[in-house]
Symmetry: C2
Subunit: 322 residues, 2 copies
């Protein structure tokens, strides 16, 4: 058999995944919000929406997170303040501060930065934040409403991922999505938004959904991920998702963010739960870390604050009329 002439060999280069640029999409959303807030204030004669962050103790990461959120708020025209409280504050003192914020007509959104010190019951605190001002969507009643597909304030990270998927025009209807990680702030609400009925109030995504977690055997995890059209990972385990676990063309959303030591540079760097460099050779869409899901979480917090402000203004208005 004579060799095939070189010019007749068509080399099909593997197509690399399209990078979902969360930083850019979040920027777009902040720009839209800025415009919407401005128009609402003008047309409805309203003060700016107001977000209050409650920060207990001096955890450096928490301080950075809150600072970034407040910066985003300023950018979209939301006023904000941070209540910096000592880590020795008692639960009852914290509850008393939350009572004031719940009752304060000048506050639209309340954000209690987690984690809280060990002597404070986080669940109790989350449930104490007024449902109407619960911009993190962590109050048990708001979680219940989300799970019943009802209009509510939805946790920012899953809401941001929904927005990423939507704006990247990735089909979810009847597709198979795998969520890896069953946390109550990401995995569980994500599974809700993915599987539920798009005709209901939350505008969910009508996907078939599998939830995997620490007790899913590695072989099952691989088999299920490999079947999925969409894989969303939120475990905090760097590099958990490898290229041989992903179906060619699938969408891979990486929620993980872990600081690791980089041997090449001798410096620390942030990595996700996905083996990004290799998975992007197989996937159709992929989010980078950092610059993927993270900025969307903050953008959704701003949107939730605006939604809360509009609803609270309406209810004050109704009270005034009646």
């Amino acid at each position: 058999m004579s060799p095939i002439p070189q010019e007749n060999i068509i080399r099909v280069e593997p197509q690399e995944a399209k990078i979902i640029d969360g930083k850019k999409i979040a920027e777009d959303i902040r720009g839209e919000l800025r415009q919407q807030v401005k128009e609402w204030m003008k047309n409805e004669n309203q003060r700016a929406p107001h977000l209050t962050a409650v920060l207990v103790g001096d955890n450096a990461a928490s301080q950075t997170y809150v600072k970034n959120k407040m910066k985003a708020a300023a950018e979209v025209g939301i006023t904000s303040e941070t209540k910096q409280l000592p880590k020795t504050i008692s639960e009852i003192e914290l509850l008393s501060i939350l009572t004031d914020l719940n009752n304060d007509d000048n506050v639209d959104g309340i954000l209690v930065q987690l984690p809280l010190p060990d002597h404070i019951n986080e669940r109790k605190i989350c449930n104490f934040v007024s449902c109407d001002k619960d911009v993190d969507g962590f109050n048990e009643k708001n979680i219940g409403r989300l799970c019943l597909d009802m209009n509510t304030l939805i946790p920012c990270t899953p809401l941001g991922i929904k927005e990423l998927i939507k704006r990247s025009e990735i089909e979810t209807f009847g597709k198979h999505a795998v969520v890896v990680g069953r946390s109550k702030t990401v995995g569980m609400p994500m599974m809700m938004l993915l599987h539920a009925d798009g005709r209901h109030e939350t505008g969910a995504m009508d996907a078939t959904v599998t939830i995997c977690h620490r007790f899913t055997p590695p072989s099952d995890l691989k088999q299920l991920c490999k079947m999925a059209d969409i894989v969303i990972v939120a475990t905090g385990i760097p590099g958990l998702i490898k290229e041989d676990m992903i179906k060619p063309g699938a969408t891979v959303i990486d929620v993980g963010i872990t600081r690791v030591f980089d041997e090449k540079t001798g410096k620390s760097k942030l990595v996700g739960d996905v083996d990004y460099e290799n998975v992007k050779k197989v996937a159709g869409f992929i989010t980078p870390v950092p610059g993927g899901v993270g900025p969307m979480t903050v953008a959704m917090l701003m949107r939730n604050t605006f939604v809360a402000a509009k609803k609270l203004a309406e209810s004050r208005n109704d009270k005034f009329i009646n």
Copy 2:
């Protein structure tokens, strides 16, 4: 090649599934409850737990369901009454009746039989039932607590299925369960109890869970069910699950119950969502319809009423002491 002598051929008869006898298990549970209620009343000097059913209109099926529940109550030593209300009752009148029941110290459990007439908002009614007396577990706050793995009154059907699985000694830890149907009374809470952390308050089952629904393509449904160790079906589509969709030895739980015309007998009969006669040749465990999940739902309603009664008695006691 000479033929193999007949006596050397070992015929392996396919092993039929073990039938999970829900009727018998429910009977056991009612017997246990009867004993527990009796001891509690004696030891704690309490009146019998009391369940009030609210039945609106004259739907024949609803009347039968309520009658069966009241019969089970009597059997375990729970006193009960049924408030039979006209289908023309207004929402506000119904809310007023619920206010009275919520405030009545002689009522431990309130059960509003669904469906309600179209002019009444079911969600509003479910949310109005005091969380402490919400023995159906339909209040949005109780749903939120379930989804956060917190101690709460859990919807009776998924709770009953959990009990069936547990008493049949079927392993769920790290297994793959497929839930077919995403209703808020069965599919969604079932997915919660199956996937969540067994170390938390709901004592969940630590399985990998896939939820399928009307928009899951039939080929995906088949492939996913075939992979599953446990398949739980609640769709109301008779015969949806066929033998070629089940992994040999898997557990199949059938929540469906539909009245169909039986050509053989010329009479109507009740069937589930599973092609029972054929699937039982493949499955390891299977629930019959009727006599599988149905009786468990009623038994769990009794357990929830007893749980509510104990908790309410404790809180009345605490009030008395303070």
